[in-house]
Amino acid sequence: MDLDLEFAPRDAAAHPPALAPIYRSTLLRAPRQPLLSLRSTLTEITGPIFGESELDPIDADLTRNHARDGDPIGERITLHGRVLDGDARAVPGVLVEIWQANAGGRYRHTNDSFTAAIDPNFGGCGRVITDAEGRYRFRTIRPGPYPFPNRENDWRPAHIHYSVFGQGFSQRLITQSYFEGDPLIARDAILGTMPDVAARQRLVATLDMEASAPFEALAWRFDIVLRGRGASRFESVA
């Protein structure tokens, strides 16, 4: 990987606009001034590095990393994929963190008051570092949908939140993955912030029978593409 190449400009059309009235919370939280475009400086092409030794292998197994007196309720799944950059190069050695609701659509969070039950054996977060080919893998529970205050009777489709570090801080990404075939996807206000249907489709994890474990767990695949690198070499530190 050529760490000295500048990152390509972020493709604004690939992301939701800051202000998207269909998602009410953006109304008072979206900046109104345009972002100030910068050429990358050393501050942006660098970023934090995490080591395997900082994590425990069980961190990537959400069916076990908070188990108290048994297994969590719900459908066990494998969730896996690769982290790539826009030039289709693997992004190895980067931290991937996920969080999610439990099988009933309830988050283990002091501010979540949805009436579905907390699962005593499910925390809802995990983390792993990508391997040399950029691959990551989690074992978890398929989350449930849940209602949220937005338009009248809005429900989130089942989804997994992802936080991904790249090789530079300007590749930093937080996103969500959904499950192929979920009828709530077409009704979702958060996905609806993106006018481009093809962009929404890139957030839908696909059923992966080849990676499933017979008599144990189905697998879903979700690849993540971070900004690529431009053609120009990073010059000095200005």
């Binding site: 760490l3 000295d4 390509a8 493709d11 690939a14 992301h15 939701p16 606009p17 800051a18 998207a20 008072l28 939280r29 979206a30 900046p31 109104r32 001034q33 972002l35 100030l36 910068l38 400086t41 050393l42 501050t43 942006e44 660098t46 934090p48 590095i49 900082e54 994590l55 425990d56 908070h66 826009g86 030039d87 963190e97 969080w99 988050y107 969070h109 002091t110 501010n111 925390g123 977060c125 983390r127 939140h161 936080s163 530079g168 801080f169 300007s170 930093r172 990404l173 937080i174 969500q176 958060i190 962009a199 690849d223 993540i224 593409v225 971070l226 690529g228 000095s236 530190v237 200005a238």
Partner: protein, 199 residues
């Protein structure tokens, strides 16, 4: 140019704490809470605190956000292989990265860190990245230090900011219990809106 389209950003939502700072969500799961502490006793440099609040377009406190910081060490070096500057190597006791949730009651976020050094022609600064419910793509900005007037005047990034908005990136300094505290309030929208960067 790029061969693959980027994965779209999505809001971190109101429960970002579960994934990134689970203790604030109300439970303890990992032995090692990444980003919770930036310093060890061996870290070189002047101990400082950078803290602030976040306000929305109605001037209300944003209490459910998460802020990450990324900065150089006291010598102006980044703990990353792309930093090929000459001089002493980066401080092995400083990663330069941390994360903090805004307090659910007071809305205050903060980092106990060290004052970064100058990086080439750039004045000492720290990058911040803000995610929350209602923020579709993480917002990047920079903290500069009010006691660095001369360096700030030469900084190539600050000079790109229209003069009337530069104050939004410059944190005033005050002493609290002998420790310099730099205050950096962030305004997401409206009067005094913070300058956010497309980096």
């Amino acid at each position: 140019m790029s061969k693959l389209p980027e994965t779209p950003s999505q809001t971190a939502g109101p429960y970002v704490h579960i994934g990134l700072i689970p203790r604030q969500a109300g439970f303890d799961i990992f032995e090692n809470n990444l980003g919770a502490a930036m310093l060890t006793p061996e870290t070189k440099g002047e101990r400082i605190r950078i803290e602030g609040r976040i306000f929305d377009g109605a001037d209300a406190l944003v209490r459910d956000a998460l802020v990450e910081i990324w900065q150089a060490d006291a010598g102006g070096r980044f703990a990353h292989p792309a930093d090929r500057q000459n001089g002493p190597p980066p401080d092995p006791h400083f990663r330069g990265w941390g994360r903090s949730g805004t307090d659910f009651a007071t809305g205050v976020w903060g980092f106990d860190t060290i004052k970064p050094g100058r990086v080439g022609p750039m004045a000492p600064h720290a990058s911040l990245w803000i995610v929350a419910r209602g923020i579709n793509t993480g917002l990047a900005t920079r903290v500069y230090f009010a006691d660095e007037d001369a360096a700030n005047a030469e900084d190539p990034v600050l000079r790109m900011v229209e003069p009337a908005r530069r104050f939004t990136l410059i944190a005033p300094r005050a002493l609290r219990g002998g420790i310099p505290v730099y205050s950096f309030d962030i305004r997401l929208q409206g009067d005094g809106e913070t300058v956010f960067l497309d980096v």
